[in-house]
């Protein structure tokens, strides 16, 4: 059982998550595979001092791909658990918005 401090692995910054953060107040993290909604909510609220309204969780399936050098060798990249955290309208998380 992990504590709230090793629940959040890293923020996911992509075009999509950028849109979600700006328009929907949703912030996207990669989280530990054994984390659940409650833990994620606690972690985000404690670490960033914000109010979490809702947490959506999805297991991103590992995808088959090929190695860059030897194209015959199929490999699988690791899957991970992704959490989409919706915050209260007045809250924001700075690490998504460039250099502070």
């Amino acid at each position: 059982m992990s504590t709230i401090y090793d629940v959040l692995r890293r923020p996911l910054v992509t075009e999509k998550s950028n849109f979600q953060a700006n328009r929907l107040h949703q912030y996207v993290f990669e989280v530990a595979v054994d984390a659940n909604r409650t833990l994620i909510k606690d972690a985000v609220e404690t670490l960033f001092d914000v109010t979490v309204l809702r947490v959506n969780v999805i297991n991103v399936t590992p995808k088959r791909t090929r190695r860059a050098r030897s194209r015959r060798l199929a490999i699988r990249n690791a899957g991970y658990k992704k959490a989409i955290v919706t915050l209260a309208p007045e809250d924001r998380i700075a690490i998504f918005e460039g250099v502070e």
């Binding site: 996911l12 910054v13 992509t14 075009e15 950028n18 918005e97 460039g98 250099v99």
Partner: protein
């Protein structure tokens, strides 16, 4: 936008421009978009990463640098407009004085400025050299010899004969280790008495005279001491023994200078016609030579009275122009510039300073003066003249050997038209100058009243463009 200008001594201007923060901010955004367009940022499609992400990935410096570049590209023209400067060559960014607020300094070369002095009062007599009868008869005599028929004869050589012989030459008393051979044993031919007139007798003046009286298979040795001031340094003051073996002698039968001779040349019917044409040709050559000298000196006089200012960039351009011409000429003779410099025994620096630079200054002043004079005298070309000149050039081109109509595209035609028109324009200026310098009464040119509008025909459109460019 705040702008300060400081004129500099070498006809350039230093502009310090300060930009508002908002302008800079806008350009920063554009810069970020450009960076994200050009580089790969994980998680984003090219060009889609937001400003903050780009900033986090690449830092403020990169964005600022890009922004300044974009800003200069776009605002440079506005800066020049605001500073009311006519640039003569591309300016350069001197330094970025500060970035917040953005303050840049540029060095801008100004367009050349020409103030014509009192060129109207420059007087120089024009005296084209006349062709003397001697020149004409000399020319005709040369023609005569070149059309002469040779006929082998069995007698001693006389003046005017063509003699074939073997010639070898060696030094009478060569120094130790010196190659005694001056002329390698080999065949030679001379028309006795032919070259003494033009002073081109070889191997020494008066040599051919020595052949007089020799018959075929005769042998002779001549000892000749070269003068101390001979053109060949090696032979100065040396004694050389020449050995001659005559092989054959041919008498030259000169054609009579009469109507028949004239007709044999094809274009003429009578001898008088031929003579006139020779005189005209000689006169034309002499006049051209004199013209060049006359205008060279005239321009020196005008330049002395005028003030001409230009930035060093323009001069450099002219120098490069000259070098390019030179390289072209050299490559036609299978030489490159390095070899040529070695041949004339200079380095490229001294060559630039001593040969190219003065020539460039001269050409530049002349072309600037021409331009200004053309404007001052309001010289304009009439449409008919322009068209005639362009068509003439094109026709001339099409008669040249190796002419391929497929190769003639718009660019070539344009270039030819440009060339023809500018030549015509220059001719007009020069003839006007001539009439001023010789003090002829000023006549208003009949073409000045016409508008330079040209009806757009096939060649007319190009000619018009060319004319505008020529006038600029």
């Amino acid at each position: 936008m705040k702008i300060e200008t400081q004129p500099r001594e070498d006809h350039q201007v230093k502009i310090v421009a300060e930009f508002d923060a908002e302008i800079m901010e806008g350009f920063k955004r554009r810069a970020a978009r450009k960076i994200s367009q050009e580089t790969k940022i994980p998680g984003f499609r090219p060009g889609k990463a937001p400003y903050d992400i780009v900033r986090r990935m690449y830092g403020d410096d990169a964005i600022e640098k890009q922004a300044v570049e974009l800003l200069i590209d776009e605002q440079y023209g506005k800066i020049l407009d605001a500073a009311e400067i006519k640039p003569g060559a591309p300016g350069s960014l001197e330094e970025i004085i500060s970035t917040d607020p953005l303050k840049l300094s540029f060095i801008v070369p100004l367009a050349p400025e020409v103030t014509l002095g009192d060129y109207q009062s420059v007087r120089k007599p024009y005296e084209a050299p006349a062709v003397s009868d001697d020149q004409v008869s000399e020319y005709l005599r040369r023609m005569q010899t070149s059309y002469a028929t040779a006929e082998p004869v069995e007698r001693a050589a006389e003046k005017g004969d063509l003699v074939y012989y073997m010639l070898s030459g060696r030094l009478a008393n060569p120094a130790e280790g010196e190659d005694a051979e001056v002329i390698k044993d080999g065949p030679a031919q001379t028309v006795i008495g032919e070259d003494t007139v033009s002073d081109k007798d070889w191997p020494f003046a008066g040599f051919s005279e020595q052949l007089i009286g020799m018959a075929a298979n005769d042998e002779k040795e001549i000892t000749h001491t070269y003068a101390e001031d001979d053109s060949d340094e090696k032979l100065r003051g040396r004694e050389v023994i020449f050995r001659i073996i005559v092989q054959s002698i041919k008498a030259l039968h000169l054609p009579e200078l009469d109507d028949e001779f004239a007709q044999s040349l094809g274009e003429f019917t009578t001898f008088a016609e031929l003579k006139d044409s020779v005189a005209a040709q000689l006169g034309e050559n002499g006049r051209q030579e004199y013209d060049q000298k006359f205008f060279d000196e005239l321009f020196e006089l005008i330049a002395a009275g005028a003030t001409i200012k230009y930035p060093p960039q323009v001069l450099n351009e002219e120098k490069e122009h000259i070098l390019e011409h030179l390289k072209e000429d050299l490559s036609r003779n299978n030489l490159d510039l390095e070899t040529y410099l070695k041949l004339i025994n200079t380095t490229s620096e001294t060559f630039m300073a001593e040969q190219v630079a003065p020539a460039a200054v001269k050409r530049l002043t002349r072309s600037l003066l021409m331009e200004e004079l053309g404007k001052a005298e309001k010289i304009q070309l009439a449409d008919a003249d322009v068209n005639a000149a362009v068509n003439g050039s094109l026709r001339q081109l099409s008669t040249q050997p190796g002419f391929d109509p497929k190769k003639v595209n718009d660019r070539v035609v344009n270039a030819i038209a440009m060339d023809a028109v500018s030549r015509l324009y220059n001719q007009r200026i020069l003839s006007r100058l001539k009439s001023i310098a010789t003090g002829e009464p000023e006549s208003t040119p009949e073409v000045a009243a016409e508008t330079p509008e040209i009806e757009v025909t096939a060649a007319g459109g190009e000619a018009e463009a060319a004319e505008k460019e020529a006038a600029e």
